[in-house]
């Protein structure tokens, strides 16, 4: 469904991503991890079409709008002057594909799919809790019936209970809608619990890409080993030794 071929990205001559290649099957889930500054967010933005690669290409088999990104701080991706209805409806307004009444109904359904009551449609973003804003961002992405979601550090700042609820929601959506997603996070423990496969970035290079269990059991690269060791230290018992 998604194929990345020799993708490179540089800013003012400074390489941020170098020769990245991988592919993702429909309905698959990929965890993208690496240390801070390794290029995770830039790669996510290139995949979502928000940054133009310097060279190489990203091939997505589907309409442009079927690939959606949930941002690093989902709350700041919600216009504070918009109501929940306006936020969730916006992709449909932009597409110009639905009459107003149908748009409102689609928005209400998307909101309900993420566990927010349709009575909240008139509320402004700042009137929701952190977890609800996260759900609002996901609802907005869902309203266009995407095939692939890219979640960029979307669990940051959420308390464990809310993070767990969002994780459960993503798993549900995957089962019910066949939604594939790429989860970008520096937290290997989080990724390991959610993704089928993991890709590790180091200084802009994709150094390792393997099924989750295999990568955790036998990390080949030094950068991966360091990440696994750190995760084991922070979450003892969560990983097979």
């Amino acid at each position: 469904m998604l194929r990345v071929e020799h993708l490179c990205k540089s800013y003012a001559g400074r390489a941020v991503l170098t020769d990245i290649s991988f592919h993702l099957a429909p309905g698959a889930t990929l965890g993208l991890t690496g240390a801070s500054g390794s290029g995770k967010t830039t790669l996510g933005r290139c995949l979502a079409g928000l940054e133009r690669p310097t060279s190489g290409r990203v091939v997505f088999q589907g309409a442009r709008v079927e690939l959606q990104m949930i941002f690093q701080q989902p709350a700041s991706s919600l216009n504070p002057h918009f109501t929940a209805a306006e936020i969730v409806e916006e992709p449909l307004v932009i597409a110009g594909s639905h009459p107003a009444a149908q748009r409102r109904e689609e928005a209400a359904q998307a909101l309900e799919a993420t566990g927010i009551a349709r009575t909240a449609l008139h509320k402004f973003a700042h009137q929701f809790s952190g977890g609800e804003r996260q759900r609002l961002a996901i609802a907005r992405a869902l309203v266009v019936r995407p095939k692939l979601l890219i979640l960029d550090e979307s669990f940051n700042g959420l308390d464990p209970e809310v993070a767990q609820q969002i994780a459960a929601l993503l798993q549900d959506l995957r089962r019910s809608l066949g939604l594939a997603w790429i989860l970008i996070s520096h937290d290997l423990a989080l990724i390991a619990g959610l993704a089928d496969e993991i890709a590790v970035l180091e200084r802009g290079r994709l150094v390792e890409h393997a099924p989750t269990a295999a990568l955790l059991r036998t990390p080949r690269e030094q950068a991966t080993r360091e990440l696994v060791d750190a995760a084991r230290l922070l979450h003892p018992g969560a990983f097979p030794v």
Partner: protein, 322 residues
């Protein structure tokens, strides 16, 4: 509270200027040739009723004395105006000019021209600034470079000399309406660069906001992004700029009309009324001729105070918890 008081004061001033035909005791062009440079009329009291005495020229023509043999009551709702006195008496609250025209009435009528010029020029200036700044900030790169360098070039022009040159090319007699549009157009065109730079700054930051990126991800066009997400964010800058530009442009009208570049006689504006006070003997003998200058002060002060209070409000406004 301060903001409400300032707004109420400004509303009062605007109301007075707007209602000039009703509040002014005379028409702006009405001449009382028997009373050139008459000083402000003195009010007397007959019991609880305000009255004026008849005014008769004394020796010299410019010196008047009151004829106390007869009183004329100041009446409300007379001749379709709020107040006045019945003929043959005259009532000049702020005195008269060289043609015997009531200065108070002319200040009220003149305020309409000065204020309208300020408002129209501000509208034009903000419109141009908003368009220029939004395009420069949103598209960035070479579009930004070209638009902003053009703006700087505009700022570098010696505008006063340019305007004097333009006036020299115009016919000697330009109708008041043409003069008004010319003046508002020139002042507005000269003043757009600063709002454009401020708007550009806001747009440069706004276009990087995650919700703009999100909308772009949904395939939003540049026009949609500007209209729905970016332009609303420039609202506070535009509002504050308006409150700063209006008094500046009113002052510009006063200055340009004072120099003879504005609306011509007999239509009054605060600037062309002050022209008469240029002469030394007028200034020392008929100080009331400076009334238009003083009349503009509360209006300018009100707008500048409003700008301060709006800025204060913006800085103190709680940032949305997002």
């Amino acid at each position: 509270m301060k903001l409400r008081l300032t707004l109420a004061g400004l509303a009062l001033l605007h109301g007075a200027i707007l209602l000039a035909p009703w509040l002014a005791p005379y028409d702006y062009a009405e001449q009382h040739r028997d009373f050139p440079y008459a000083p402000p009329s003195r009010l007397h009291w007959a019991g609880l009723r305000p009255v004026v005495y008849g005014l008769v020229p004394d020796t010299g023509g410019e010196i008047y004395r009151e004829d106390t043999s007869r009183q004329y009551p100041l009446e409300l709702f007379i001749h379709g105006r709020l107040f006045g006195v019945a003929a043959p008496a005259v009532f000049f609250p702020w005195g008269t000019d060289s043609l015997g025209r009531d200065v108070f009435s002319r200040v009220l009528y003149g305020g309409r021209i000065s204020l309208l010029t300020g408002l129209a020029a501000t509208l034009l200036s903000l419109g141009l600034g908003l368009l220029w700044g939004t395009l420069a900030g949103f598209y960035g790169g070479w579009v930004d470079a070209i638009l902003m360098r053009a703006g700087e070039l505009f700022l570098a022009l010696p505008w006063l000399y340019f305007l004097l040159g333009v006036r020299a090319f115009l016919p000697l007699h330009v109708s008041p309406t043409e003069s008004f549009f010319l003046l508002a157009g020139i002042i507005g065109t000269v003043g757009w660069v600063r709002p454009a730079r401020l708007v550009r700054g806001v747009v440069l930051s706004a276009r990087e906001r995650p919700f703009v990126a999100a909308a772009r991800g949904f395939g939003a066009s540049g026009f949609y992004l500007m209209r729905r997400h970016i332009l609303p964010l420039t609202g506070s800058v535009v509002l504050t700029q308006a409150t700063v530009l209006i008094p500046q442009f009113i002052l510009a009208e006063v200055t340009l009309s004072f120099l003879g570049l504005g609306v011509g006689e007999p239509v009054p504006s605060w600037g062309n009324m002050l022209m008469e006070a240029r002469q030394f003997h007028t200034l020392v003998s008929h100080a009331w001729m400076l009334a238009p200058g003083f009349a503009s002060v509360p209006l300018l002060f009100g707008y500048l105070r409003l700008a301060d209070l709006l800025l204060e409000k913006q800085h103190l406004a709680p940032v949305a918890d997002l």
